[in-house]
Amino acid sequence: MAIEGADLIKAAAFLGAGISMGLGAIGPGVGEGMVAAKACEAIGKNPKEAGLLTRTMLVGQAVSESTGIYSLVIALLLLFVV
């Protein structure tokens, strides 16, 4: 089969998008899990501070989510823009 240049570029963009989002999702998932794991432990030790700990957990998770969102943005750019 003959592969044209434009076809190859599109194929690479599709593969790149999947790999970008797929690999990019690993880190935030593990990192946010560690945040929540420690939050569970901290609430177990000091249940009175549950509200403060929950808030801190969510803020921390939101920050570590950012790299996942970068991956998502790059994947969408690869799919629809470039």
Partner: protein
Amino acid sequence: MMEWEPQIWVRAAAFFGGGLCIGLGAIGAAIGEGYTASVANESMARNPSQSNVVLKDMLVGQAVAESAAIFALVVAMILLFSSFSNPSWLTAAAIIGAALSMGFGAIGAGIGSGFPAGEACRGTVRQPAVANKLMTNMLIGAAVCQTPSIFALVVSFILLYTDFSAMPVWPAWAALVGAGLATGLAAIGSGLGGGTTAQASVEGIARRPESASSVTVVMLLGQAVVQSPAIFGLLISFILLFGTYEANSSLAPAMALLSAGLCVGFGAIGPAIGGGEVGRNGVRWVARNPGAGQVITRIMLVGMAVSQSTVIYAMVISLVLIYVV
């Protein structure tokens, strides 16, 4: 090369796939069983009088962990010895997909099942009186860990025993390989995460046997959420397996389907491992501080839900790759 008969390609793919399947599939169970045995030794050294019970826990736990590798062995044997009737180009792709699915799919479940088994050995030495409770909890936890590998086995069998000959070779071959990758890779994290959650449950019961029922419930809740990335992988696999494809000999549509499988497969690994960490600490602290059980369970579920977000992004990108572009 393309002028070779499909039969040749199918046989080559079956031999290559058989090796790949058991090669990858043997990784997890060996690590998990090694961990179990190491903890069993440590526990026996601490209290040799319990060595018989510890040995029993170790062997039962290892047998459960072994099952993932046995699934991979079964698929490898099928690949080596079946004569694929009516082979087409797609049969070769389906074989590679089946091998990847079961090979990768056995890794997480094998490692994960080793954790509760090891903890059961440790707990038996700490609290010989509740050895039976620990064994039961270990078996429940380890059985749930195996579910991702069972998903992988199901996808393998669907790939091996469905007649795909009506589909156009391009781009359907990529959908079949992608379907294998999606479930196989997605199973890694869920197997591991389910294991860490179960480990904490066994540990908690050994520390406070009276908390057994509440700890088991929280464990199952946590494990259920940890399984969701594997279920997303399975979902994308089913969509890829049972889709209808228009014949299209260009490269891009095929790569989009392959990429969809890779995307959700890789994307599921991290959130499931992270969810497993949350489950571990959530279950552990429900056992240690039962008074705060409700608050801890709630925060565990919220934390897990947030850490699942990236696998949902990955699933969305996979669906876009399948349906939109």
